[in-house]
Symmetry: C2
Subunit: 403 residues, 2 copies
Amino acid sequence: MAQAPKANAIIGQSGGPTGVINASLVGVIEEARKHPEIQTLYGSVHAVAGMVKEEFVDLGKISADTLEIVAASPSSALGSSRDKPDAEYCKKILDVFKKRNIRYFFYIGGNDSANTAYIINKMAVEAGYDMRAFHVPKTVDNDLLVTDHCPGFGTAGRFVSCALMGDDLDNRALAGVKIDVIMGRHAGFLTAASALGRQRDDDGPHLVYLPERPVSMDKFLSDVEGVYKKLGRCVIAVSEGMADVDHKTWAEKLVENAERDAHGNVQLSGTGALADFLAGQIKSKLKVKRVRADTFGYLQRSFAGLQSEVDVDEARRCGREAVKYSMTDISGSVAMKRTGNGKNYGVELFRTELANVAEKTKSMPDEYINAEGNDITDAFIEYALPLVGKLPKTEYLGNYPKV
Amino acid sequence: MAQAPKANAIIGQSGGPTGVINASLVGVIEEARKHPEIQTLYGSVHAVAGMVKEEFVDLGKISADTLEIVAASPSSALGSSRDKPDAEYCKKILDVFKKRNIRYFFYIGGNDSANTAYIINKMAVEAGYDMRAFHVPKTVDNDLLVTDHCPGFGTAGRFVSCALMGDDLDNRALAGVKIDVIMGRHAGFLTAASALGRQRDDDGPHLVYLPERPVSMDKFLSDVEGVYKKLGRCVIAVSEGMADVDHKTWAEKLVENAERDAHGNVQLSGTGALADFLAGQIKSKLKVKRVRADTFGYLQRSFAGLQSEVDVDEARRCGREAVKYSMTDISGSVAMKRTGNGKNYGVELFRTELANVAEKTKSMPDEYINAEGNDITDAFIEYALPLVGKLPKTEYLGNYPKV
């Protein structure tokens, strides 16, 4: 392995923000300061878009106190971008890197970001430019390959768990049907996290619909009717990516003029259309009077003051580890392996090839979804509960014995 | 003043749940235990609906540890009701009270609940039934008369502040126009709380629309355009009760088949229609490409693990105080008077007549709204900031000097 070059470094944050992507950023910054090989550490403002425009801030001058505030702040402190760089775009980036003697490239993001790091790394190798490219995982969707789970999921999952705990108690107080539409285009992990706070036998969400299990409107309505008849109320968690049996998503069928981002993804968030449509179906077909629907939207990924402790710690470690790997390896993505569960929960970090993560996504394993396709299993709870951190206990008195 | 009778007591929680209505419940329970005049303390399940059906739980047997969990739980632990009792309904309740020797009636809720307590108290007086009726204030809308502010507002305001802090950082990361629709039919306090977390000069929300200031769609669009041209982005907080210059709410104009609850209020929550409509207007008329809209819905009133410390403390004190007043007075509503501001913030509690609170609502005072009617003033911040508690500091690096 060639010696790590004495040169400048750059870091960017890409894609949708999360509650701990800044913790990963701080992990990179604090570790970079320990390595004399890394000279100036540039922060690229708005990810790859800032790289071509050389919109850089100097991350070497930020105080330790400020770094702690950064690590606790939601969203991407350097700004983000949805640009998906092609070869020409990447060449421009590489030109800037050469001009600025940038030979360390750290990129925090999802599978598209891993791909960007992969392309730039390949170009650098071909051009004989001695450079290191590392991807730090981030996504609320938890859909990256190789790693046990992704930084960002635990915090978003904590938001969703706490939201459903509150919402279920709200639904007990004023009974009816409540629908909550949760982020997740293809992977149901975040929607599944809605069930992590269940404490009593009849706690909601009573039904959980995931993109991995297409469901017809008839089946959906019949499920809701069953719960409502039994409990007199029903709380439903629905992924925004919920699909019909023909595998078209409900949202795609509904949203006219759906926007597509540069990655070809249909824009599903930021609209109440799916939630309102499902509420309308239940009102009209099941004759339930009180039906309410909320779409969690961006609150679940950027909410000040709400982080999972485990998640923020792991995100920071992932950032630090990327810098360490860059001292001995040319490229890679940071991944986590679980070393224990429950009280013994822990992870160890390892390096995987960028190609293993780039442009690929993971779905919920079958063992995490019940046979009927409308709830999660205990295996999922065992998997996900350590990631969201200790959830508050709640109490409901209305089901105490009557006197 | 007649001696406090030795008799049973009852408590109910009415209307929309809040994050601290259970703290008021616990305040009543713990104080009632100190007074031998109060024998069995019944909890009525689903408020007045439980009273006519005698759906009661015994609140004397709940452990202190469980009470702490109750006080920290969102929503109404006894269940709630939207019933608005008429004279016949109230007579049924009074019959149950007589049968069970209930002579202390505590009711936690908004102005409708104060009115219920007022009617029942009046009936009891007319019937010569020695009984005490006390109202404990609760509402996320903060719209009760007499009291400086209402338990429930601080916690909901904290949710909204933290949401907008995160959302504004999200909007910095991926620029565009973001609309957040916030609860509040007639009073803009909760929507105004969206601005409490602003830390930097260009922090959002950049525009705040309140039901107290009707605005035309043209003015709205021109405001948005102005901010967007200046900052390249715009975060907007809109009350669900936002009205046009003809004083009809935008939502009323939009929502077909709007439901009305038993109090004659139009059902505005639980629908993304207003947010989606405003987003559509901005997209089509201002030609802004990236426009997103979220409707906060029930998350802002029932979210597990999120309470304002000041709010939860005051809510509990209000519950305790109601019991104390019932030892010396026939009826009343608990109210708060502010004794200091900023670092010297504090309140003292006092009793006011039920009639002063019943069926009345308060709007945002003019001094809390800017001249243009699209933002709040420093006076509002001074008023509301102590109520939501200390907000997290955040950091954004993208506006640091470029290198």
